[in-house]
Amino acid sequence: MISLQPGEITVGGVALHNHLLLAAGVLGTTGASLRRMLRLGAGGVVTKSIGPEPNPGHHGPCLVRTEGGLLNAMGLPNPSKEFVGEIEPLKDEPVVVSVYGKDPEDFKEVAGWFAGTGTARGFELNVSCPHAAGYGAAIGTDPEMVLECTRAVASHGLPVWVKLTPNVTDITTIGLAAEKGGASAIVAVNTVRGMRISTEMRRPVLGYRSGGLSGKAIFPIAVKCVWDLYEACSIPIVGCGGISTADDVVEMMMAGAQAVEVGSAVIDEVRVFEQIARGLYAADGVAAEEIVGVAHRV
């Protein structure tokens, strides 16, 4: 197994303790929960996606386990502006604030709350959530919209990561739009559209009916998206989707990712970051640059 050198790194303009970030929306609704994940070894954390108004999210069931994955339709619950206070105590930590909205103005406004208070090291634009009508993927399937939202948030002068949906015919068109809009990095990917029906109840099992699939089941899909984006774009890529082991991290890096986000794997073990790091880092490890994208060069 390949090992990496431990130590601080910078990816897409954000300084991180290691290559492993907590993915948006997973154990990221409170400052204390984010701090816990940092203490348990996350090199950085992405917050729950924050929007222009407080949102209770969809009715339940919101999340179920499926074969090799999770299916969720949380519906972007978040306390909106109140979240600024939530992460104020984490000012010295690598916190990326995930933002959503229905148009560039929304994105700019929400990001502004955090930019103004120094609570964000950077932003991640959620233009990819598959279960929020008018938000998320409704925006992230339109290159022009992605470009505008990216540009709007970039105007705050902090790094902007744009998180993409795999549920498009050609993800590179969206990646290129983000790049053109001034993104510092692309995050690939958000959940894959999915649905389960309870045959016993004769109805979709999620309150919102359909949702997003995450976890091991989508890992090959995420690797392919990262691969395609690496071929098409020049800004850094952060890989996300189904990562749960050190080898998964290396695989994502070889596909082209400079860092990764880990979400669903916390279900097996909340100490997943420590676990991965134990397998990934070694004093005599190689520099990440030596393996990022290496699978393209054979």
Binding site: L27, S33, P56, L70, N72, M201, I267
Partner: protein
């Protein structure tokens, strides 16, 4: 994670027992093999999915408070619910156990008492009509009752009953009830130097129930009530948000009325 539930399992309501005007027990089949203090996510089709303690392996005891619980109150024998569970850690007892329950919080403690694991049970309610499970509890443990209006047992709150109890004599003190009541119990345990013997079953807003979404994370350590709890020791709760605030569905803090001054 392989022991965590996958899709909800359909159970059929077998009987509905009106415990008090606002509390009903729903007996269902098949049962959920579980230990006392564990809970389930109850899917009321078309309405919502909400957490409920198991009052036995085949029942939940529900207080009507809003949409989902009101919808449940319309259920008749033969109707279906979806269940994900058992979830959470439950109570861990051995030796001599004191149980202190208030209102619908008696539900998980009933489960414990029926298994013969409770020596003494302090049960409180507003009024005699709202006392839950008293006859059943009385059959398996030494039951002491308090009602706010004095219509049964001691006239006063359930914590008053602790005056007559030698807390030191109990290995475990299991508590469930309204947060204000649990807070008063914790203060007494702390004063007596036995906070670590307390096992408190918390209620917090839950969405996933399996430790992923973070809705139920508590301050200051980010512990998840659904997965790291719902039962926490009194020692864990000292200097936590417990008794001061909780969060709603949006993740916004909601300060408890009695704590409002202190939080400002």
């Amino acid at each position: 994670m392989s022991d965590l539930p996958m899709l909800p399992v359909r159970v059929t309501v077998k009987a509905v027992v009106e415990e008090t005007p606002s509390v009903r027990t729903f007996y269902f089949e098949p049962g959920i093999p579980s230990s006392p203090g564990q809970f389930v996510m109850v899917w009321v089709p078309g309405v919502d999915e909400v957490p409920m303690a198991l009052s036995s392996a085949t029942s939940i005891t529900v207080q009507q408070v809003g949409d989902a619980t009101t919808a449940m109150f319309c259920l008749k024998p033969g109707d279906a619910l979806g269940i994900r569970g058992p979830l959470g850690n439950g109570f861990t007892v051995s030796g001599k156990t004191l149980a202190i329950g208030g209102g619908v919080g008696a539900a998980p403690l009933l489960h414990l008492a029926v298994e013969g694991k409770v020596s003494t049970f302090l049960l409180g309610a507003r009024t005699a009509d709202e006392l839950l499970f008293a006859p059943v509890i009385n059959a398996s443990s030494n039951l002491k009752i308090a009602t706010d209006d004095g219509t049964a047992g001691h006239h006063g709150v359930v914590t008053d009953l602790m005056d007559e109890i030698d807390l030191e004599a109990y290995d475990h003190i299991c508590v469930c009830g309204p947060e204000i009541m649990m807070l008063k119990v914790l203060e007494r345990l702390h004063a007596a130097g036995v906070a670590d013997r307390g096992q408190f079953s918390l209620h917090r807003y839950m969405k996933c129930g399996i430790g992923v979404c973070g809705s139920c994370a508590t301050d200051p350590h980010g512990l998840r009530v659904c997965r790291d709890g719902p039962v926490f020791t009194g020692a864990d709760l000292l200097e936590s948000e417990f008794g001061r605030y909780a969060r709603d569905a949006t993740g916004s803090k909601v300060v408890f009325p009695w704590a409002k001054k202190a939080e400002e």
